[in-house]
């Protein structure tokens, strides 16, 4: 979310002075079913003030995040910040719109609910328990996870190949057609793959693993999924989150087509009779 320091008057603008003199200006733009709320606090007093701004729209506050961790002071309903003397403080958050009416449910979208003189030396970090400091550490220092591109697809070594192929298309009744001439493998050692009989070729394995990952993510996401869970789930994907439904639909079509083809191939492989005796006599 981009927060503009100089709020351009898009949508509507409200400026409300509180009794203590904190000015609060809101602007809101809506895009893609989400309201983007811009708030500008202006402290005209010569003392630092602790301000609580709360969201008045129906949906939850989606705060700005760094490394997946909300910025300090934000919670589900709003934000608590300390505004220094004569400081203008920009804030911004997103909020999903009411799905039925698809319109703003409150005007102004956010208000100052408390405004008091901040104790000397206080910062915007409001409390400092363990969870807060751990989140602050991750936000400030960054997650040590390797980038997604550095993680090889889970197909390479044989034991993952064995533990993985539990997708219904591969072993529930439709085994991959096996080579029928195992007897003669001493003459053509390179023709017969070394991996165990039911191991899939790496390319197929990779493709299936990708489909499995997308299906798993889709199963993990539902209406009740929290933002942090969803963020982590979606981070494992190789497609843009918005493209996931279309990709899943195409996965579904391909799997259907593949299942058909596997059925037919398996039937043909079973019924084909290879004259193994005569083949053995060939050089």
């Amino acid at each position: 979310l981009v927060v503009h320091t100089a709020v351009a008057p898009r949508g509507f603008i409200r400026e409300t002075g509180t009794t203590d003199g904190m000015y609060c200006e809101c602007a809101v733009t809506t895009t893609g079913g989400v309201a983007l709320v811009e708030v500008r606090l202006r402290n005209p007093t010569p003392v630092a003030r602790r301000v609580r701004v709360e969201n008045r729209l129906a949906g939850p506050v989606l705060p700005p995040r760094t490394e997946g961790v909300p910025e300090a002071g934000w919670d589900r309903d709003g934000v608590s910040v300390v505004v220094r003397p004569h400081e203008t403080r920009p804030l911004g958050y997103a909020c999903p719109l009411d799905t039925e009416t698809d319109s703003l449910s409150a005007d102004p979208p956010a208000t100052v609910v408390s405004d008091e003189r901040a104790p000397d030396g206080s910062t915007s970090r409001t409390d400092d328990d363990h969870a807060t400091s751990v989140h602050a550490v991750v936000r400030d220092l960054g997650r040590p996870a390797p980038p997604r591109d550095a993680v090889p697809p889970p197909d390479v070594d044989a034991d993952t190949a064995h533990s993985n192929p539990d997708s219904p298309e591969t072993d529930a009744g439709h085994p991959v057609p096996d080579s029928t001439d195992h007897d003669s493998d001493d003459t053509y050692p390179n023709d017969i793959a070394d991996p165990p009989d039911d191991a899939l070729p790496p390319a197929v394995q990779t493709w299936l693993a990708g489909v499995e990952r997308r299906v798993e993510v889709a199963e993990r996401l539902d209406a009740d999924t929290s933002v942090s869970t969803a963020t982590r789930a979606v981070a494992d994907l190789d497609v843009r989150p918005a493209a996931l439904p279309a990709r899943l639909a195409s996965d579904c079509r391909r799997l259907d087509a593949l299942a058909d083809r596997l059925d037919r191939l398996a039937a043909r492989a079973e019924s084909a009779s290879v004259p193994s005796e005569s083949l053995r006599r060939l050089p």
Binding site: A131, S133, L141
Partner: protein, 217 residues
């Protein structure tokens, strides 16, 4: 007590010192180097599984000369591990087993910051070189920011004339010179932590480190 063993620079002997210190204090050693673990591992759940929510912290503890929570070595595991869970994992190990020594990775990423944030105290490992010392100073600043008191500095591979006074001035904590010796070098691979004793140089250093840790109880 939760003790973080950190140092900033890689290769100065953090894991080696942590291994013998955990052995001497009967603590559980956690290898928190999520990306490049170097303490021995084995079959069974590891720290990656714990941080991905696939195993309880106590399940990942391996018995042996030093109780150890090894870290996985795969990139996929490192990517699935959520470092914010490290705090709760280390806390629950401390509740169950008492003392915990966390072997931090090199650098100043969150996998150093989170152990320092949950630790009661930290031990810095440095080698007597200017570059190692400057990294130790940066780690010391981070530890100070996160309220992990510095119990001691282990000056590893100290040589004949260790600059203990200069390091003490720079880092403001007692300095224990750890001599370069075969006993210490082989301790991790052979699974034989150096015992605190007054008879060998390394044993003497481990005894001094244990004493420094005991002071913060």
């Amino acid at each position: 007590v939760i003790l973080a063993v950190a140092g900033g620079k890689g290769g100065v002997g953090k894991s080696t010192v942590a291994f013998s210190l955990a052995g001497a204090t009967d603590a559980v050693l956690v290898d928190a180097d999520l990306g490049m673990a170097d303490l021995p591992t084995g079959r069974g759940p590891d720290l990656h599984d714990v941080l991905a929510g696939r195993a309880a912290p106590a399940e990942a503890v391996r018995g042996g000369p030093v109780s150890l929570v090894p870290c996985g070595r795969s990139l996929a595991g490192a990517r699935a591990a959520d470092v914010t869970r490290l705090a709760a994992a280390v806390g629950s190990l401390a509740d169950e087993f008492g003392d915990v020594v966390v072997d931090c990775p090199a650098g100043l990423s969150a996998d150093v910051g989170v152990p320092l944030a949950v630790a009661d105290a930290c031990l810095l490992v440095a080698s007597p070189h200017r570059f190692a010392l400057s990294d130790a100073i940066r780690t010391r600043e981070l530890a100070r920011e996160l309220d992990a008191g510095l119990v001691a500095v282990a000056l590893n591979r100290a040589g004949d004339d260790p600059p203990t006074a200069a390091v003490r001035r720079a880092l403001g904590a007692p300095v224990v010179a750890v001599p370069e010796c075969e006993e210490l070098r082989r301790s991790v691979t052979e699974g034989t932590p150096v015992e605190p004793s007054r008879s060998s140089g390394a044993g003497d250093a481990v005894a001094a480190l244990v004493e420094a840790v005991d002071r913060c109880r």
